[in-house]
């Protein structure tokens, strides 16, 4: 079935353009529908947390934004421009590698397993992108990296390789590495799930300070309901590839309307 592309604008215009828009986005793995016609707008500076049972498609949302996954139908817009598509001869066509690379510059991501480059020191990890992608001089990149490592409390470990750092320390370096690219949108994919309980607060306090001090747009997938409640502007509960329910954290998490949301939250609360 040919998907009708005329419903999607070439560009988002107006005074209230969302930083991120998912418009009718569907993703399938074979027979399995991971995302089913997802619509989601995230405004600039907003912190949106995605919760839901595993397999509900929440991580896929972030991976698509980072262009680590393709989509089957629909369009994703970032900063008003299409990310998954590009305009050619006045029509939306699939984005080519060059367009994706250009759009990717607006997005940064932190992963569950940090994924630091093991053959580079903490400092070199944070300088890699600024030097080789943004074209900064070594001095400029070093200054920027040191500032960020200082912000995440890792300046004294700048010359250590990742194998010498704890999980919490590695994740903080990974946050600095992503921020060094000056993204407009930051994605946090279960960034505390692989950490020992006693170091989780190292990472959450860094994210909290980002929320307080920067006008970054953030999407976070997490299982830490308490943390989500504390820092989010909005919480989305995903179920079977759709947003089952969403709202301000104190409303969604305290007084969910849908039965699925209630079941999920009580299961999570009992587990904690």
């Amino acid at each position: 079935m040919k998907h009708d592309m005329s419903q999607y604008p070439l560009k988002l215009e107006g005074d209230k353009v969302p930083m991120v828009r998912f418009q009718n986005v569907t993703k399938k793995y074979g027979e399995l529908t991971v995302l089913d016609g997802l619509n989601l707008d995230v405004t600039e500076g907003e912190m949106v947390t995605i919760i839901g049972p595993s397999g509900s498609g929440k991580t896929t949302v972030l991976r698509m934004l980072m262009t680590l996954e393709t989509i089957d139908s629909g369009v994703i817009y970032v900063d008003g421009e299409p990310l998954t598509h590009m305009v050619k001869n006045g029509r939306l066509v699939r984005a080519n590698a060059a367009h994706q690379r250009q759009m990717r510059a607006k997005i940064g991501m932190c992963f569950q397993h940090f994924n630091l480059f093991p053959h580079m020191t903490a400092l070199a990890n944070c300088m890699e992108g600024p030097v080789h992608v943004l074209g900064l001089s070594k001095e400029e990149a070093r200054e920027r990296a040191l500032e960020l490592l200082d912000m995440v409390g890792m300046a004294d470990k700048r010359d250590q390789h990742p194998s010498r750092l704890s999980g919490g320390q590695q994740q903080r370096v990974a946050i600095a590495r992503a921020l060094a690219m000056r993204p407009k949108v930051m994605l946090f994919d279960e960034v505390t799930s692989a950490l020992d309980p006693e170091v989780i607060s190292e990472v959450t306090s860094v994210i909290r300070s980002l929320v307080d001090q920067h006008n970054l747009t953030m999407l976070m997938v997490t299982h830490q309901i308490g943390f989500a409640r504390e820092i989010s502007d909005r919480v989305c509960f995903f179920f079977r590839g759709k947003i089952e329910e969403q709202g301000a954290p104190e409303i969604l998490l305290e007084a969910p309307q849908k039965e699925r949301t209630q079941q999920f939250l009580s299961a999570v609360m009992n587990a904690n």
Binding site: R104, P118, H119, V133, M181
Partner: protein, 223 residues
């Protein structure tokens, strides 16, 4: 009865040592060809082009499943029929380089496939290009685990250089053969050839182990 002639030994030793230089040259030259061509083979099999992947895959399989000796003969004796007239040295280096490139490409492939998927994703998240990702992130991590295998093939290529004697490359084996034929004595030349090979390959293997360790330490891959 062991009848070792010491004066004969001293007489032929300089010639054999000179020929050992050629052996090392052949091994070294062939290895350089193999290291570079092997990487090309490995990367060619990872491009999006299915045709290229298929052709290179089959070429590698073909080279690996036919004898080196046949490949040497083929390039040297059959090449001229296709207008490819090569000196014994050139033909020999191409044959041995191509043969070991096929093996090394598998070593590289294993090394590259061992780099976790998360490294590719992190490289993409900071927007490195594909070639930057290979050069700066993937190959530096694929290399240390591949180094042991690469070292084995360096010793392997050294031990296979005597095959080049069949097309007249004046390496160790070729020289020992002609000494034997001239003097009707084979004990001393062949024994010396064996000893010289040992004297080259043992330090090489030792050096590779040292280099491997030093590299891992430098890259922070071991604690």
């Amino acid at each position: 009865m062991l009848d070792w002639k010491l004066d004969f030994t001293w007489e032929i030793l300089p010639r054999l040592i000179a020929a050992a230089g050629n052996t090392m040259l052949a091994a070294g030259g062939g290895y350089v060809v193999a290291v570079i061509l092997g990487l090309v083979f490995a990367l060619a099999q990872r491009t999006p082009s299915r045709t290229l992947t298929f052709v290179v895959r089959e070429l590698v399989e073909f080279v690996r499943s036919t004898p080196l000796l046949l490949q040497i003969f083929f390039i040297y004796y059959v090449g001229p029929q296709f207008g490819l007239r090569l000196s014994p040295w050139t033909a020999g280096l191409i044959a041995i380089g191509l043969h070991y490139a096929a093996y090394l490409s598998e070593v590289y492939r294993g090394g590259i496939e061992n780099v976790p998927k998360g490294q590719w994703e992190a490289a993409r998240a900071i927007n490195l290009s594909t070639s930057q990702t290979y050069r700066r992130i993937i190959i530096p991590q694929a290399l240390p685990p591949a180094l042991a295998g690469m070292g084995n093939y360096l010793v392997g290529i050294l031990k296979d250089t005597p095959m080049l004697s069949v097309i007249g490359v004046a390496e160790l084996m070729h020289t020992a053969n002609s000494i034997g034929a001239d003097n009707f004595r084979y004990l001393e030349p062949y024994t010396l050839v064996g000893l010289i090979f040992l004297a080259i390959s043992l330090p090489t293997a030792w050096f590779i182990r040292r280099f491997d360790k030093a590299l891992r330490r430098k890259m922070g891959l071991t604690r």
